[in-house]
């Protein structure tokens, strides 16, 4: 004999079907494809569901249909503010849809990324959102074999696995440096921490902009693989000053570093922007109220999250986008820290 009888109180699809006077399969269709039902049956099933308080058993559904309603999201960090905004967009967009978000954190490790992708593959997600375009060959193979829509976020590039939404970190950094150059600054330092692929691209934008102006000088560059903190911004800036005392501007790969630089300037009585211009990246909220307000590059992170989910869901449901790659661009937010000094 099998197991204990089903608890009498449990409501299954069969009960709903019975109450509605239809077959179980028709009741099932009510959830998956309501348009296929005649209006009368649809109403009967609907009220039966409500009357019984029926809740579908997702495990049974997944087992029978070989599908899940899970969208996997792979991000490199939970601490980085940047991803908080993206995630907010992702969760906001997924709410109200039938899909559930499953989050995985790689901590900036591509091996960890392979591992979580393998895990996701085993669970047959309905769709996937992954960060960046620098997957290992192995990861790419997994992604391509997944047989579900995939959106790469945060940046854009030439060979999407499937879809992409992001912006060009290279262009953004190039634009930031061009702006600083326009202010007449010539010795523009570069401060970078945790040089992940996107930060690397910002560096390339910096490098090329400086080279184009014939102002590139390795002595202007200080980077580290250590994760970003505000304090680190101060430290790196101190290193830069020791190495190259005649700098007149600093481009920081993110706003936390920029804030650290600002604090270090306050500590050393370096006047910003008179003695030093500062430009950050991401346009976190605090940049606007710092003293002086910090220039930064605004990136549309919340929208990125929203777009990513929308694209994936649309693709799952057969509405493939015309254009698989969306460039959300960036805006240079010029504030006091990189404007002509009023003094």
């Amino acid at each position: 004999m099998g197991r204990k009888q089903t608890k009498s109180g449990k409501i299954r699809l069969t009960e709903v079907a019975k109450l509605a006077g239809v077959s179980p399969i028709t009741a099932s269709r009510f959830f998956r494809n309501p348009e296929a039902l005649s209006l009368s049956k649809r109403e009967r099933v609907d009220s039966a569901v409500k009357e019984l308080g029926y809740v579908p058993n997702l495990a049974a559904r997944a087992l029978a249909s070989h599908r899940t309603e899970v969208i996997g999201v792979v991000i490199p960090s939970l601490t980085n503010n940047v991803f908080a905004d993206v995630l907010r967009g992702i969760y906001d967009s997924s709410e109200g849809s039938r899909y559930t978000i499953q989050l995985a954190n790689t901590r900036y490790s591509i091996l960890q990324e392979e591992k979580v992708l393998r895990l996701f593959r085993a669970q047959k997600p309905a769709g996937l959102i992954v960060t960046g375009i620098n997957q290992t060959a192995e990861s790419r193979t997994i992604l391509e074999s997944m047989n579900c829509p995939v959106t790469q976020i945060m940046e854009i590039g030439d060979s999407p696995v499937d879809m992409m939404v992001g912006f060009s970190h290279y262009d953004a950094a190039f634009a930031a440096i061009s702006h600083i150059l326009e202010q007449g600054r010539r010795r523009i330092g570069f401060l970078g921490a945790r040089m992940d692929p996107r930060v690397q691209r910002r560096f390339e934008g910096y490098r090329d902009a400086m080279k184009a102006a014939a102002l590139f000088d390795p002595a202007l560059i200080v980077t580290t693989s250590v994760p970003t903190t505000v304090t680190l911004g101060g430290t790196l800036f101190a290193d830069l000053l020791a190495q190259t005392p005649d700098i007149d501007a600093v481009f920081c790969v993110n706003d936390d570093l920029a804030l650290g630089v600002l604090f270090e300037c306050q500590r050393r009585q370096i006047s910003v922007p008179r003695d030093l211009a500062i430009v950050g990246f991401n346009d976190l909220e605090f940049t606007a109220s710092a003293v002086p307000a910090l220039s930064s590059v605004r990136t549309n992170r919340y929208e990125m999250g929203r777009h990513a989910v929308t694209m994936v869901i649309d693709a799952i449901e057969g509405r493939r986008p015309q254009e698989p790659v969306i460039d959300l661009g960036f805006q240079l937010m010029v504030r006091e820290s990189s404007m002509p000094s009023s003094t």
Copy 2:
């Protein structure tokens, strides 16, 4: 006839069992309770699993066992840095375990909380982690009916649904105010934004500390229900100054507000700490490198996340903790912004 034959490549538990020369049920036990197998069979199943690259079908497992291996996590915000740290702890601890984290965001709405709890109930999670102790009666009923371990995080209180890990926001704020009073400050302002229950408790700590010193004055208080930003800190501080110009200290319910106050002071040439002491809350990383460094109350958020997961998993697996309520405490981080002025 039923459906298409199983894809020949698909590896099920049956295949593993066959290769290992055992019954499927024994192979199943290999995963759920390996100690129950004899050493020889255990090894045979183990190598069969590896040889075939078998991956369990979680949906089938959930359907057959009426259990999932999901731990639901309910938090009020994804943007708030505080939760980023907690989440990091949660994800770090869950990694390597068999459990999967399912995140839900309530955006500080108790109705949204009810909704996500109802959703979770339908999925029969193995355990649950929820933020705070101010659930609605309905939410509490759901939690109690869930029949799985529940840990409330972020604060502690008298009547846990099940388990708790957090600290007393009241005590923390009381201690912060006591410290400021010890510095000889008498007119201590209170700045609060998004007055969620925990922030409310911090207010009560402030209020009682001030009353105990016979220094409580409603004119010292400025609060708003708007979400916290650094900019808002400056705005609220401006309001406070307008309302009560003779303040000599400000307690901010979080570090973002405190940073905003600091910037506003820089803007108005108010010397910190000489003219004004500032104390924040949470001890975010930047407080230590601000100029002057900001005093704050350190809370052990990462550990909170780790503990919460550990407690839930232990309880799921029958190892109930002796003490269901863990107080992680707090540390007052006294820095320049609230020390005697050196000037």
